[in-house]
């Protein structure tokens, strides 16, 4: 058994961490998040050159990684720096493109890997919550193409994207897993409107409205009505990424808090000398290791059969959601008032950890999914 990353993964992670620490600090991220695109395009290109995007995809598709452990290595490094940018969006869209294949998809994937294209994944809707198969946006076939109408909610980096991969229903009931299709829609398409905003976690998102948006027949990605598996697979990769991002941030928060306990003095001694606080910090450490193991389980199950893969992914996201909230809240409490301030970098990690549970399914969603998948098995 070997729980360690490969040398290549470790080197890439170290390079990314160093770059982020030296060249793309948190202050820059916060400063840039107020307006689209919400991140440094220069840093984005440099991170692409260092391999942050290529490592997410298979060598056959122009990448140099693509395994769940590669994804985890990249996102853990990004999480430890609380990095902003459309990494998750690129992973989700890129995964869809990799699944459907074909000339068009592969060309787009190469543009993503090079850092030349930002493609947002417009799947979630105002009423879908975290349910992957609930799609009310419709695509009607017409002369020479498709006409899309509907609303997409909290689309990650939707106001930075050149193009969108939009899920839309081509048949079936609103919650039918069959009948969902994926379309490529350019950001400037007539009838498409985008309202961007910054999120509590410092990343940007957008509401995307489609009002009779027309796209050509060639913009259908994959088989009409058969996108659910593609979406589930992309979401699985996204879950690995978010869990790894969380583990990276959790380690930083733990170190910051332990350091504060060592240095902050009250009643004439470091507050870390009080047993009531020591035990809570010990719990934080134990729970972070549990979260890391949950991620390891998901990575290990990623290449296996669907039910065991998806159960491990849900188990990991559930665990990360629970541990991230626990550690974030304990970190603020153990810091006291100073932990409540915007000025302290800790608070931005805390918000990122809390918001993790609002991306790609929260603890309840994944716990329920874990139970349902177990019942089916």
């Amino acid at each position: 058994m070997d729980f360690n990353p490969t040398d290549d993964q470790r080197m890439l992670a170290d390079t990314l961490r160093r770059f982020v620490a030296e060249r793309y600090p948190l202050e820059a991220r916060t400063r840039l998040s107020g307006a689209a695109p919400g991140y440094s395009t220069q840093a984005w290109r440099q991170l692409a050159e260092l391999g942050a995007l290529g490592a997410l995809f298979d060598p056959e598709l122009g990448g140099y990684g693509g395994g769940p452990d590669d994804i985890a290595a990249v996102f853990e490094a990004l999480g430890s720096g609380a990095v902003a940018g459309p990494f998750l969006a690129s992973l989700l869209s890129g995964s869809c493109l990799a699944s459907v294949g074909g000339e068009q998809a592969e060309a787009l994937l190469q543009a993503i890997i090079a850092g030349d294209a930002v493609i947002a994944f417009a799947h979630q809707e105002p009423g879908s919550r975290y349910e992957l198969g609930r799609v009310e946006t419709t695509a009607a076939a017409g002369a020479g193409g498709w006409r899309l109408s509907g609303a997409k909610a909290v689309v990650s980096y939707g106001d930075a994207a050149d193009q969108f991969i939009v899920s839309a229903r081509t048949s079936g009931a609103p919650d039918d897993e069959q009948g969902v299709s994926l379309f490529l829609v350019p950001a400037g398409a007539p009838g498409l409107s985008i309202r961007g905003y910054v999120g509590v976690d410092g990343a940007r998102s957008a509401e995307v409205l489609l009002d009779q948006v027309e796209v050509g027949a060639d913009r259908l990605l994959g088989v009409a009505g058969g996108a659910f598996e593609v979406i589930e697979k992309a979401t699985g990769a996204g879950v690995v990424a978010l869990c790894a991002d969380g583990v990276g941030a959790l380690d930083v928060v733990k170190d910051m808090t332990a350091e504060y306990l060592r240095t902050r003095k009250q009643f004439g001694q470091p507050i870390g000398s009080f047993q009531a606080l020591q035990h809570r910090m010990a719990t934080v450490l134990i729970e972070i290791e549990q979260a890391r193991s949950a991620l390891t389980n998901a990575v290990a199950a990623f290449g296996g059969p669907r039910v065991s893969r998806e159960r491990a992914l849900s188990a990991a996201k559930y665990t990360l959601g629970r541990v991230a909230a626990l550690v974030a809240e304990e970190a603020v409490q153990l810091h006291g008032g100073i932990g409540m301030t915007w000025e302290l970098p800790l608070s931005h990690y805390v918000k990122r950890l809390i918001m993790l549970d609002h991306l790609l399914g929260d603890v309840d969603h994944h716990l329920e999914r874990y139970i349902a998948l177990g019942r089916a098995a």
Partner: protein, 398 residues
């Protein structure tokens, strides 16, 4: 045992409800419900409306302009106000300083400061915490040195809530360095409208400006503004904190927050059905509701015990711990209920007078900030760790 309120108390409840229905503008209540920020003027106008009815400080004795309400009546009042989403009154003068003045102040101090509170002439803030004196409050370093009939004050206070609106601050200052640390502290009222006082904002993680740092550089306060005796301020400070903690049970605020949570859960959907009907989430709400119902009775039991013997003692620490944790849980569940729309950061929608179109449902903008802001509850007013220490020592005698 009788858990019903007396006929007299129930009559007051009806009177309070009628007053709130007639006086509280619905749009103001709605903004409070959704966690939007009020301007200083809106808070002052609401306090003036309460004052006109004689209910700005109904817990004060009648001789000072209050109603002399019992703790039970006061509980009903606070509860009904919260339930109606009335703006909170600014507690620092009315609920914190006033009880200290009434118990320890001179006749002249009472006659001058108390009517000014009722008239809205002063906006008070609290000068307790310092960078090096948080949970360890007795470590205050800000000094007050006697110079004729004035004190000269130097030092820094922090976490000063709404200090940006205040013209007066009550401070714990060090007037002696001999003996025990608690023995050299005095309680002094300081005018903030002078060159030696500077207020700087602290922005909290939710992006809000609620707390401040206050710097004193040769600021002056007349010796007439000393409360009680010099170097005895710790006694008054502790008395005030006990009062503060009783209100920190937050029962009314938590009932109102639970109402919002249920509204959100009824509106949000999961699997095409209202989230409130989802067994997982319904169980989460039920657990919080049961805790809150228990806490209501715990609070009333402490209140009843206190009614017999003045201010409650260490039992108020129990209310603070449980009350803040219940409130945090409700805020956390509301954030969870909101799903993906907890993510957009929308401070512009919360600004006073804003009509900004929200991203997501109308209740979305306030939910995550209220959750983040609620994290302060277990830190301030003596952190919950400090409260547990008090319980351990004073009640359990460990």
């Amino acid at each position: 045992m009788d858990l019903t309120f007396s006929a007299e108390d129930e009559a007051l409840r009806q009177e309070v409800r009628k007053f709130l229905a007639e006086t509280l503008p619905p749009d103001l209540a709605q903004r409070v419900r959704l966690g939007k920020h009020l301007s200083k003027g809106e808070t002052e106008a609401w306090q003036a409306a309460l004052s006109a009815r004689g209910w700005l400080a109904p817990h004060w004795p009648k001789e000072h302009g209050g109603q002399g309400w019992s703790v039970t009546q006061r509980y009903i009042w606070d509860y009904e106000k919260s339930l109606a989403h009335a703006p909170p009154t600014v507690a620092f003068g009315l609920n914190m300083l006033a009880p200290v003045l009434i118990k320890f102040g001179t006749e002249a101090q009472k006659a001058y400061w108390l009517p000014r509170m009722l008239n809205g002439d002063d906006w008070w803030c609290q000068g307790y915490s310092e960078p090096g004196a948080g949970s360890d409050l007795a470590a205050v370093k800000t000094t007050a040195v006697r110079d004729g009939d004035e004190y000269v004050i130097n030092g820094q206070k922090t976490w000063t809530s709404l200090g940006q609106h205040a013209n007066m601050i009550f401070c714990l200052v060090r007037t002696a360095n001999t003996g025990k640390r608690q023995e050299g502290i005095s309680f002094v009222l300081v005018d903030m409208d002078q060159p030696g006082v500077e207020v700087r904002p602290i922005i909290t993680l939710d992006g809000d400006h609620e707390v401040n740092e206050v710097f004193f550089t040769d600021a002056r306060a007349p010796v007439a503004n000393l409360i009680g005796e010099e170097n005895q301020g710790w006694t008054y400070a502790k008395y005030l904190l006990t009062y503060e903690r009783t209100s920190m049970a937050m029962v009314g605020a938590s009932v109102a927050a639970l109402g919002l949570l249920k509204d959100v859960a009824r509106t949000e959907t999961k699997g095409g059905r209202p989230l409130a009907e989802d067994p997982f989430f319904a169980a989460r709400i039920a657990r919080a509701e049961i805790e809150l119902e228990n806490l209501k009775t715990t609070t009333l039991r402490v209140v009843a015990a206190a009614a017999a013997g003045g201010a409650p003692g260490a039992e108020s620490s129990m209310l603070k711990v449980k009350g803040t944790e219940v409130h945090q849980e409700i805020r956390s569940l509301t954030r969870r209920a909101l799903g993906p729309y907890a993510l957009p950061y929308q401070p512009e929608s919360l600004a006073p007078g804003s009509n900004a179109e929200p991203v997501g449902p109308d209740y979305a903008p306030g939910v995550t900030p209220a959750y983040l802001n609620s994290r302060k509850l277990t830190i301030y007013g003596g952190s919950n760790e400090v409260q547990r220490n008090i319980i351990t020592k004073a009640i359990l005698k460990l």
